[in-house]
Amino acid sequence: MAVNPLLPQVAVVTDVRRETPDVKTFRVEAADGGELFAYRPGQCAMVSLFPVGEALFSITSSPTRIGFLEFSIKETGMLTRALHEIEPGTEIGVRGPYGNGFPVEFLRGKDLLFIGGGIALAPLRSLINYCLDNRDDYGRVDIIYGARSSRDLVQREELFVNWPRLRDTAVHLTVDVRSDDWEGNVGFVPAFLEQLNPVPEGKATITCGPPVMIKFVLQSLAKMGYQPENVITTLEMKMKCGIGKCGRCNIGDKYVCRSGPVFTLAELQKLPNEY
């Protein structure tokens, strides 16, 4: 018996963590105790809060951590505002996984340079934890991450405690705006990247952030000698279905929900500039 692909599964929010003044991380489990679905790092899911609506979010948890999904969600519009009001125990709808996910096989054996800004650590975090949980399969891991201010850094425990203590793993943080409680770097991510100047040899880089950050990070990476095939990023578009039918997330002949959200710079260069 075929099923309606637009029908979500019922899931329960089992934990809500406040990350920043406008970001919360929601842990979600199947209402019947089983697995919601298998997924790859970088894939997304449609989250429904009845009666408000449904939207696509990247899954921020790693598939190596079994039994739940996590979504880090910034309070932005009508649905996310309502999501920020819910308490653990709230039942929601989840369907997925959607999208291609990160090319974990291609990345195997390479040194990895993650470059993230603001809430866009969410999709990177799934891959970071995936790689760190399969530590022997990947080379050195460097994480460059920035936010508007120190209080806008998400996933602080991982940034400050869990990730830096692992071997061959370093976290480089920067904030746009100085504050009394911040002793680290102050400056935008692209400038910080050029200052750190990691060599491109043997490396793949995965970047995710606000469009303006991505634009300048890509320019910096090109200047530093990174090849477009080794530069990976993610795109976001408004989506209603997640399955290539509602017709609004295309860039040229590619639906971001099916062919994306993960693209290499080499792939992006072949698409029209409409994102």
Binding site: G53, T76, D253
Partner: protein, 343 residues
């Protein structure tokens, strides 16, 4: 091959309506629409295109995709299994019949849209060949023959005083077999009349354009200044998309009533600013230029690239006739170098 005198059509409608919900084009108040047949309603066999395309039978303008209810726990009910009333669709023109197979590529492609599949399978499509294409018809450009409709279950051909029926699928054959008492056997003379009518329809064609190689040409047309000129006329009314038999974009909205409600799918249009507007404020198609370009590029380049070279246009001419500012896809095709190869 069977036939019936046009004077006996009421008898045919009667019999067909016993086999399923019969829908056919009916004129009322100057507009021809597909509606459910009732006693004493007569079909309009002359109007070429119904105002709204018959895609609504498989992909309704609004439909419930799920129901939800908060009891002790959240209950989600899939209503797609309720779709698919036995339906007979009479009088679908060849362009609209061809559009069904384009729509199939979207909704029967993985993952299959269950409600659409059920409606499609429970419907017998009876196409009606065109005798005299209008000035705004250009189905021939897409290799659609105005007198033929190979994707339909049955083809009806108007030979003057009679309608001749040709089965084109097992569903069509089954239905034809059930109409034995009403229909007569057609003769080889009738077969010739059908062929003549089909031939004449091709000859009467006035608007001749070619889309040969157009998708390839458009590969490098995205950044053309042509779009800067073209879009200025567009008033973003969305008429072109709602009347288009191949436009398939939708929105999902919630309709709440206390502790329960429905999620509704409804037609949406790439002509509207909020179609791609994101919550954070960014819009990848910020002006009408990008939206107009999206519509034409989707029909003539993106869709062919996604679906084995087939254009998402069947030349029905609805958008050409109804666009309030005459933003004409024929003009676009010609401008892009689609050759005018006829009169």
């Amino acid at each position: 091959m069977k036939k019936i005198a046009k004077t006996k059509l009421q008898e045919l409608w009667q019999r067909l309506s016993a086999e399923g919900a019969l829908h056919l084009p009916v004129r009322s108040d100057r507009v021809v629409e597909f509606v459910r047949w009732q006693e004493d309603v007569s079909a309009d066999l002359d109007a070429l295109n119904a105002f709204l395309p018959p895609k609504k039978y498989f992909y309704p303008q609004t439909e419930t995709v799920l129901k939800y209810q908060f009891e002790d726990t959240l209950q989600l009910t899939d209503v797609s299994s309720l779709a698919g009333e036995k339906t007979i669709l009479f009088g679908v023109r060849p362009c609209d019949a061809a559009a069904f197979s384009l729509m199939d590529k979207v909704y029967l492609g993985e993952p299959v849209d269950e409600a659409y599949r059920r409606r499609r399978e429970s419907t017998v499509v009876i196409a009606l060949g065109c005798l005299e294409p209008e000035e705004t018809c250009f189905c021939l450009a897409f290799d659609i023959d105005p007198g033929k409709a190979p994707g339909a279950d049955l083809l009806a051909a108007d030979t003057g005083t009679e309608l001749v029926f040709i089965a084109q699928s097992s569903k069509g054959e089954e239905l034809l077999a059930k109409l034995n008492g009403v229909l007569q056997e057609a003769t080889s003379g009738d077969e010739n009349k059908v062929k003549d009518a089909q031939e004449r329809a091709r000859e009467k064609y006035v608007t001749r354009v070619s889309v040969h190689g157009l998708a390839e040409k458009l590969d490098t047309f995205f950044d053309s200044v042509y779009w800067d000129r073209l879009y200025r006329r567009c008033i973003a009314c969305g008429t072109c998309t709602y009347l288009c038999p191949t436009c398939h974009c939708f929105d999902l909205q919630e309709y709440a009533a206390g502790r329960s409600g429905e999620r509704i799918r409804c037609w949406d249009a790439c002509m509207f600013p909020d179609f791609t507007q994101m919550a954070g404020g960014h819009n990848p198609r910020p002006t009408q230029k990008e939206r107009v370009r999206q519509r034409f590029m989707h029909k003539l380049n993106y869709f062919p690239r996604q679906h084995g070279g087939e254009y998402a246009c069947v030349g029905c001419g609805r958008c050409v006739r109804q666009c309030p500012v005459h933003l004409d896809i024929l003009e676009v095709i010609r401008e892009m170098g689609g050759a005018v190869d006829g009169r």
